[in-house]
Symmetry: C2
Subunit: 338 residues, 2 copies
């Protein structure tokens, strides 16, 4: 996260985290009575939240994943409303479910917050969660509320999905496969950069993508049915995530830079050539899907980015862009500068 | 949580949270490489953590629940080792799964920590998680790591379970049913009180129960098969949790104080009569199971505490102990003094 002074763009809506009625003025039941009615049920919910646990209809195989966002690390209050934050943390978890080839069925949600956080922000956040769940026909299966020390606000989501096909792993790419993407590259990172620079008005679509990613959820199971050999959610950027596919599959993944031209074109005017290319290659949080298919097997809506080949003698499993390695490191949670 | 000066009991083991090698000196992959091998797989794990999501074998119905613990609120570093904390947060989640009548199959685990937290504490914590999971034949399905501001350490667990019978809800108690418990009452609260008073040596079993609860997981599904009409995990104390059963089922739950004598007896010498009774009636974190059965239907190991009757005209659905209401309020996450 940036240390530049935040600038509030005109389109920021919703209460700030510490505005309004402090949570400490409500007891837990009163807070739940406000929040729970906002959450959707879904077609698979059999016992709703409120008992020891919820019950959800499942197939013989269930997919499960979890992801957490922290105020000041994963979002800044100046740039993202509660609704944005709620939408995003759900969307990024559902993208991981879809990237296995599964259909999302439910989420569990934990809010750990300073008691000075405003009820209004919490309700705004719940509306974002609800909208992202409703869009995906996913139920809120439960959650937890806990208080935390001054300034701390974090949201943790676990998402479940129903797997009706074999799971598509990142380790399944084979020499000869085509590498393809479903969705745009670099928009979310460009949006973050513009927010950091106080120039959100230069590319509203990019800023919107940063705030509320829209992963192509239905395309995950569809790709699985179409025979995708590997697949993952692009959360950490093409360079890092395609490198993961290469290493997990023990192959070399070759991206053709020309295939990235539409993505770079989309960002060039707002960012300039160098930053646009950096966002497309290394920018995270797009939550597009990256997959490999046998040649000729691309489902509708997918775009070819390159191909997969065997490692040569002594060559590492890795990503190459027009034959060259990508050196930008990506980012990390615990090390400084990460 | 108490504000008394903490006293370190002699049996505290394991590194303190902020001792040793700070997390900031490792990158995320290096940290995962240390932690993940500690976690058990289980019979139901089909795709382990490391891809976008894990895959777990499920029945047509899956139970899901989540619970979070925060340093300084839910545990004190002076009293609980990382292994204690890891064991406890898993056990309390699995207890919720069992209380639905389900068999726990997997957990997802999130650690949000100040980068100054020591690797040694994290590994100690992972060993506690692993042991609690292994004891229950439960897999670690995944997790997330995130950094947080100074002093913040929290662990969030989501637990999943396989439901092979109809779920047992807290709303199913019927007039004429017998109220029963599987497990002891008040031990965990007594352990907390003794830790607060610096007298942990007065009742090591109670202190051990506070640090590492051992919910009777197999008795949840067994009670469901035996026809339990309602069931819940005793996490917030008999008074509060039995009151929940009464309200959810719209009945009056009558506890006979004489039935609590074995629990009070167990604590009287260490705590005195009044505190012992308070712990048994209102102390949380025992993670025993509370259930109702038709008369004559108690499975082995369950102990009768009282009975269920219909509300009289104008009477509220509530808990009565020897005919009298219990006024102690229990505790709450966001309100002061909670």
């Amino acid at each position: 996260m940036p240390d530049a002074s935040p600038v509030v763009p005109a389109d920021r809506t919703g209460p700030r985290v510490f505005e309004g009625t402090p949570l400490r003025t409500l007891d837990e039941d009163a807070l739940l009575a406000r929040v729970l009615p906002l959450y959707p049920t879904g077609p698979d919910l059999q016992v709703p939240p409120g008992d020891d646990a919820a019950v959800v209809a499942t197939s013989p195989r269930t997919v499960a994943t979890t992801d957490t966002v922290v105020l000041g690390r994963d979002w800044l209050d100046e740039w993202s409303s509660g609704e944005d934050v709620g939408h995003k943390v759900v969307a990024q978890n559902l993208a991981d479910v879809a990237a296995m080839g599964a259909v999302p069925t439910g989420v569990l949600l934990t809010l750990v917050a300073d008691p000075e956080v405003g009820l209004e922000w919490v309700l705004d956040h719940a509306r974002g969660v609800a909208r992202a769940c409703r869009d995906a026909r996913v139920a809120v299966l439960g959650g937890d509320l806990s208080s935390a020390s001054a300034g701390v606000v974090m949201v943790s989501v676990t998402a479940l999905g129903r797997l009706d096909v074999d799971p598509v792993l990142r380790s399944g790419a084979r020499p000869g496969d085509v590498l393809a993407v479903r969705g745009e590259l670099g928009l979310a990172a460009a949006g973050l950069l513009l927010l950091q620079q106080g120039r959100a008005d230069r590319h509203p679509d990019a800023v919107a993508r940063q705030r509320r990613p829209r992963p192509p959820l239905a395309d995950g199971p569809a790709a699985a049915r179409a025979g995708a050999t590997s697949m993952l959610d692009l959360s950490d950027g093409l360079a890092r995530d395609a490198g993961r596919v290469a290493r997990a599959s023990d192959v070399v993944v070759e991206v053709e830079e020309a295939a990235l031209a539409p993505d770079v074109d989309r960002l060039r005017e707002a960012l300039g050539e160098r930053e646009a290319r950096d966002c497309v290659l290394s920018g995270g949080e797009d939550h597009a899907l990256l997959a490999t298919f046998v040649p000729g097997g691309l489902p509708a809506g997918w775009r070819r980015l390159g191909s997969v080949r065997a490692r040569r003698a002594g060559e590492a499993a890795r990503l190459l862009v027009d034959g060259r390695p990508v050196t930008r490191p990506g980012w990390d949670h615990f090390t400084p500068g990460g």
